[in-house]
């Protein structure tokens, strides 16, 4: 065995604490990477179950959706673990100055010393990486299995609401490339992490080891203090800030690692708050039981005007939905009513003279043809009569739902769009034919509360037109404890009108009938969001812990490496209190630097993401105050605690021996 390898093995045996620390860091890093890759292979297999072996037309996009976050996570893990491993080697370099100097004295070259350190990394990887692969497989298996349970629940729920049948099933799978790639990535991470300390150790001269550190080092850059820290902590604070500046090469990766951790934590919390908004939006205030009929629609083009013209394949007419309503009402002593919609047939000519001032500002509701979208709303007879009475409209009249709810850069905003003196709308078909629609009554927002109309506007103009055909028709009721029996009864009723003959009736027969609670979609979304948050928080927490471990090891190594400096300060009259003050100020200085960067980016990143989300949904960025506690307060307290422990350790050191034998680095 070469002498460099033997020396490396001797170090591994001799320095057990450091060996164990490095092994844990390597194994954890490799385990996390393996787990991430296991998620990717399992996710791809799940997609294959849905989309077929070749993943269909968008195979590349699907793979990218899974692989891109995995690559991002892998690099984050590698960055965090490299910081920790590099710190361990760096601290070791500081401890071994004398020993390495002796090696130089007896003829060892810088290259040989570098090789010794890299050989240490190699040997530690030999043990750490297999352990990490095993741990990662277990972690991946547990993670995928838990996620699979959530996916099963989502699949069960969505079966009642999605029109196309989905086979969602996530089960653990890992390919040989998972292990090869994870091992290779971890190995490269370890070698890169050891490279810098190895170079540093390779530069140690024989003179340096025998002159107790009084060799001139020109590599240090400009040393900067901090006026703020001087004002806050006095001269001791200034000394602390200068020390951080002097050792910035060592501190910078640690500060970056901690700030990345804090940033990730705040970003995750910020995104979670936006998910919360989306979830709230999906929630129904009524949560009634819903029987939904939906017809397939063919997208086409009008041959004359060239405009999009959709054809509803199986529209439901007034006789049918009224008859179904009557049949459903025969079941029990609760009321069943229905609301339908047809947004395919017409547009409305925009006439700003009928707009309220609020609506005048909403220029985006008018398309290039000077028209607005239109929803012809149909109601079951009983509900229509009730609304006529409520609004004072004569039976047979059309009732304008005079409210417009829209997403104003993330805020759900509601206005009254049309003036009360509006009497007619001009309807336009995609073919260019026009017809007048009288407005005989107005249904205002406050009148809508009693019925499930609390959606964002599906169209700019919504008019209840008695007897209108519908593409969608929903029957609502609250059956209470008779839900199961009612569901079976409703299925039999709808089957007699719209028999569902195939698993995929929507595609095969041109319509679908689904029976579910209104909040089913919200529940499915809720499970997905919880799942996403659990996975995201899990990884982020582990990454943050790794970053924090790196930070702590840097702070600790820095204090230990400076025992001579502290002894000198004491010998020229620094009191124990002043020394503690200096060390606490240093710890606070680094943590604050990391926290400031982490918080700034942790706010900016989710805020920027929210800018794109809020264009589509009324969801805004909320500052995650609750994440600040684990994100900032805990690191501050932990760093203070670690500093205190290190100060306690220093008490046992002999001032005389330290001054005479150690060296200032």
């Amino acid at each position: 065995m070469k002498i460099t390898s033997r020396l490396a093995l001797n170090q591994i045996r001799k320095n057990r604490k450091r060996t164990v620390g490095t092994l844990i860091a390597i194994a954890l890093s490799c385990a996390l990477i393996t787990a991430v890759f296991c998620f990717v292979t399992s996710g791809i297999d799940m997609l294959k179950g849905i989309l077929g072996e070749d993943l269909g037309e968008y195979a590349g996009a699907y793979r990218l959706i899974l692989i891109f976050p995995a690559i991002l996570l892998t690099f984050l893990i590698a960055f965090m673990s490299a910081t920790v491993i590099s710190n361990i080697f760096r601290a070791s370099a500081a401890d071994r100055t004398k020993e390495l100097g002796v090696l130089r004295c007896v003829g060892g070259t810088g290259r040989q010393i570098r090789k010794t350190v890299l050989a240490e990394g190699f040997f530690l990887s030999l043990a750490g990486i297999p352990a990490g692969l095993i741990l990662g497989t277990l972690l991946g298996f547990a993670g995928v299995s838990i996620t699979g349970l959530y996916i099963d629940r989502i699949a069960a729920i969505t079966r009642t609401i999605v029109m196309r049948r989905l086979e969602l099933e996530l089960s653990f799978s890992a390919r040989p490339w998972v292990f090869l790639l994870a091992a290779a990535f971890s190995f490269v991470t370890v070698l890169l992490a050891a490279l810098k300390p190895a170079k540093r150790m390779g530069r140690i001269t024989a003179l340096e080891s025998v002159s107790f550190g009084n060799v001139r080092r020109q590599e240090e850059g400009k040393i900067r203090g901090s006026a703020l820290w001087r004002a806050l902590w006095g001269f001791e604070g200034e000394l602390g800030a200068r020390n951080i500046s002097r050792n910035r090469k060592a501190f910078l990766p640690a500060i970056r690692a901690l700030s990345t951790g804090i940033c990730l934590l705040l970003t995750t919390a910020g995104l979670a708050s936006q998910f919360g908004d989306i979830e709230a939006l999906m929630k129904s205030r009524h949560n009634l039981l819903l029987v939904d009929y939906t017809s397939l629609q063919d997208e086409g083009e009008n041959p004359v005007t060239g405009r999009r013209e959709d054809v509803i394949l199986h529209p439901v007419d007034a006789d049918t939905y009224n008859e179904i309503t009557n049949r459903l009402n025969e079941f029990g002593d609760f009321e069943v009513w229905g609301i339908g919609s047809n947004r395919s047939a017409y547009y409305v000519k925009a006439d700003p003279s009928g707009f309220t001032p609020d609506m005048t500002e909403r220029s985006d509701v008018i398309n290039g043809y000077g028209e607005m979208s239109f929803d012809m709303v149909s109601l079951s007879e009983g509900l229509y009569r009730e609304i006529c009475e409520k609004t004072g409209t004569a039976p047979g009249g059309n009732i304008l739902i005079n409210t417009f709810v829209y997403n104003d850069r993330g805020r759900r905003t509601e206005i009254v769009p049309f003036r009360e003196d509006l009497r007619t709308f001009t309807l336009v078909t995609p073919g260019g034919e026009t017809k007048e629609l009288s407005v005989d009554g107005f249904l205002d927002r406050e009148d809508l509360e009693d019925w499930p109309f609390d959606w964002l506007n599906r169209a700019t103009v919504m008019v209840i037109v008695p007897g209108a055909e519908a593409r969608y028709f929903d029957w609502f009721c609250e059956p209470g404890d008779q839900e199961e029996a009612y569901t079976a009864y409703a299925r039999s009723v709808t089957d007699s009108f719209f028999p569902v003959l195939t698993d995929d009736s929507y595609a095969d027969q041109g319509y679908s009938v689904r029976i579910s609670r209104e909040d089913t979609l919200a529940r499915a979304l809720n499970i997905m969001l919880i799942l996403g948050e659990v996975i995201l928080y899990g990884f982020v927490l582990l990454l943050t812990l790794m970053g924090f471990a790196g930070f702590i090891s840097t702070v600790t190594a820095n204090i230990r490496a400076r025992s001579r400096e502290f002894a000198v300060l004491k010998s020229v009259g620094m009191t124990g209190y002043a020394l503690r003050k200096m060390l606490y100020s240093e710890s606070m200085y680094c943590t604050l630097k990391a926290a400031v960067k982490g918080v700034i980016f942790g706010i900016i990143i989710p805020y920027l993401i929210s800018l794109s989300i809020r264009n589509a949904l009324p969801s805004r960025y909320h500052f995650p105050w609750y994440a600040l506690i684990p994100g900032i307060v805990i690191p501050f307290l932990a760093v203070l605690l670690i500093t205190r422990i290190e100060i306690g350790r220093m008490k046992g050191q002999s001032l005389i021996e330290t001054i005479r034998m150690d060296s200032i680095r």
Binding site: N214, F235, E565, V568, S571, V572, G573, M574, I659
Partner: protein
Amino acid sequence: MAVLEVKDLTKIYGEGEAEVVALDHVSFSVERGEFVAIIGASGSGKSTLMNQIGGIDRPTSGSVRIEDREITGMDEDELSIFRRRNIGMIYQFYNLIPTLTAEENVMLPRLLDGRAKDTGKLSAIMEALGLEKRAKHYPAEMSGGQQQRVSIGRALINDPAFVLADEPTGNLDSRTGGEIMDLLRYSNRKLSQTILLITHDEKIALQSDRIITMSDGKIIGDEVIKA
């Protein structure tokens, strides 16, 4: 008047068979303005004596009085404050703070004491030490001789009762070592600064006014060589 009075000072390391008597009932005193060299071979106890006098280590028995104040009974913080105000330390390996400039290193005992910068005194010391052009330089940017001059400045800044110099030329070439000795003599003559020089080098010791010779933890000679 005695600036330093050492009486029956004993320091024993270890216990039982491993017991080592580093100082054995050592007594002497130093008057204000004296330049005293303490010499002895390696292991004679001179560094142990220096640590006791400097308040860095505690004796097993005996007393050390500096300007009529007993320091052996002081606690750590009292000793630290006492050191920065009354004792100037010069080490073989300079022991400067790497994050402070030459000027700030010189001012360190005053800065630790929370006292304002005495610009006049600082300039005088920097000039006397030939460090005016190096005032803003960090230790890493200076030669060994320059660093040692900074440490002399640090020892002198507070007008201490005495300066303790532990092998101050041990890490320097003979020419630079000579310059450092010149500076110490200069501060002794011109500023009436009391100096205790610890060395194993007789040639260096001969530049002082009085030589105390130590062997096996005892004073075996105390000779005034210059009146």
